[in-house]
Symmetry: C2
Subunit: 327 residues, 2 copies
């Protein structure tokens, strides 16, 4: 028996925004139906970064698959021309344990996060959403936009230009206009970006609340906070919004809610539902045009394993795919 | 940059019993010197097996390396001609997170466990040990013997024949006599095997105490218990022996001590030291010819990462070694 070896190029061919959305939606549904096991991710801490080991096992909703994503986060890597976030996924057959595939998880991590935002928007944003405000303009903003466009007819995006960094906002605007038939504007006034937007997407490494004002009816995808002490959204917004998390253990430890929880500005009562429960139909998504909704994404191993399985299934019988006999 | 791909054959070339012993001893010393991070392994449970994700980071004693071993345990695999235990290790550079190598961990898991037994025997068994009794005669018994012979001049082994399974004991005897200049005898009386032995090695999947009697001065390597409710040694022996564990969190959860701890037949006070503390010189090993010593091995991620690093260093500049550009 051989183990498939799949590179980023292989993964990119399969995991289009549309396929990633469908796969991640199924993963959240299975998780909401209690058809997934996902112990909290465990960390190793290095002087300049960390490693996260993320195992998951999905059964039901067409899944019967397990595996582990090992992802490293080293914010200073850009200086040496390496991605800050790199990942490898090992996919195992739950029946025998056999390692079916070893796969690059670098692009996969990016697109599955975009897909989680899109699925949250599908269940939580107004159906007629047309304007999206972006706080954060890096690689994750692109994934968020690409996946979001599959579920909502976004016609205009507003991009916040972080003080002192014109290049990032401009590069994102240029890329977005080249890739999609949308209008894209840049503003250095963050309120201009977050007010009068149907959907606000935050994907910065911020440790202070950046977003202070949104209009009634806005949906917020709070993507950036993924470690203790990170936050992007004013606790005042969290207090009045319908807050939906991906997973309580992870979100309370390192998601958007982690700082205001520690500061006792909000409590577990402020959390309305998990996305899995909403996708599985156990809890309601948006219930009015006026409510403000917020999705706190930390990134779940079930998303990774579901997406890896999709790539494996699509390529396992294709010609030209590498494999190795490990033992 | 490329990631090395190393198969079982590659690993076998480097990790001889002698190299495995040296490497595992250094890993225990680093761990004893608090130069290693190792969160408790996390489990996924399947209908017919489990997956364990084992991350570790070693710094000091010549190490600066991190990684994760993903190991599956499916006891019924022999029926379909697959190993019960299969593993893959991802090795990461702590400085950047880069995945330096992906390596088969199946043979590695076996030999690093043998090496832990050997290092325990080096510090805990009498130097003049010549006779070893084996309870359990599978692949792990072979690893234990191969590694033990590097540290003690064993001249005679006694093998217990489990009622109803003649083939396993015979195959082990035949292999041992062909591989080494030693005498090897089989007995179906377990006391004959464990009494008048200098070292007793247990490597069975037992859930009841098998070993009830040992002679004064015996060292026991209790290897088999690696899951809750497994045990091989009578609690009476544990109560009077100097008990040395590899790691408290793992041993109390799933090692030899887990059942008698739960039954309150022993308490944490009965645990004398961890092997890392002894190897690092912080605690004493054997202190008399009469005392009974026991090493409770559960298998640590630091052993895996240290051994994987050794293989990586030995092969990274060798011709003919496979590699892959993941992203």
């Amino acid at each position: 028996m051989k183990t498939l070896l799949l590179t980023q190029k292989d993964v990119e061919k399969v995991l289009t925004p549309s396929v990633a959305n469908d796969t991640v939606e199924k993963a959240f549904r299975a998780y909401g139906m209690r058809q997934g096991e996902m112990p909290a991710k465990i960390y190793l801490y290095f002087p300049r970064g960390d490693l996260r080991s993320m195992p998951a096992y999905l059964h039901g909703e067409g899944f019967d698959i397990a595996g582990v994503k090992c992802v490293t986060v080293h914010p200073q890597n850009q200086v040496i021309n390496l991605p800050s976030v790199m990942a490898v996924v090992i996919l195992n057959d739950p029946e025998t344990g056999y390692p079916l595939a070893i796969m690059d998880g670098t692009y996969l991590t990016c697109i599955r996060t975009g897909a989680a935002g899109a699925i949250a928007a599908k269940f939580l944003s107004r159906k007629n959403s047309e304007i999206a405000g972006f706080i954060g303009c890096g690689a994750q903003a692109r994934s968020q936009l690409s996946c979001l466009l599959e579920v909502r007819d976004i016609r205009r995006i507003k991009i916040w230009q972080f003080p002192g960094d014109k290049a990032c906002a401009r590069a994102f605007r240029q890329w977005a206009k080249a890739a999609y038939p949308i209008e894209a504007v840049i503003s250095s006034n963050i309120d201009d970006v977050t007010l009068n937007a149907d959907i606000v997407v935050t994907s910065t490494p911020s440790r202070v609340a950046l977003v202070n004002r949104v209009s009634p009816g806005t949906h917020i995808n709070a993507i950036g906070a993924d470690a203790p002490n990170k936050q992007e959204i004013s606790p005042d917004i969290l207090k009045k919004a319908k807050v939906v998390i991906d997973d309580w253990a992870q979100a309370s430890h390192s998601g958007e809610i982690n700082v205001p929880l520690k500061q006792k500005l909000i409590s577990k009562k402020n959390i309305n539902a998990s996305l899995g429960d909403i996708v599985a139909g156990k809890k309601k998504g948006r219930t009015s045009n006026e409510e403000i909704t917020l999705f706190d994404a930390t990134g779940l191993a079930i998303q990774d394993i579901a997406c890896t399985y999709e790539v494996y299934k699509a390529l396992k019988n294709k010609r030209g795919i590498k494999s190795i006999k490990l033992f």
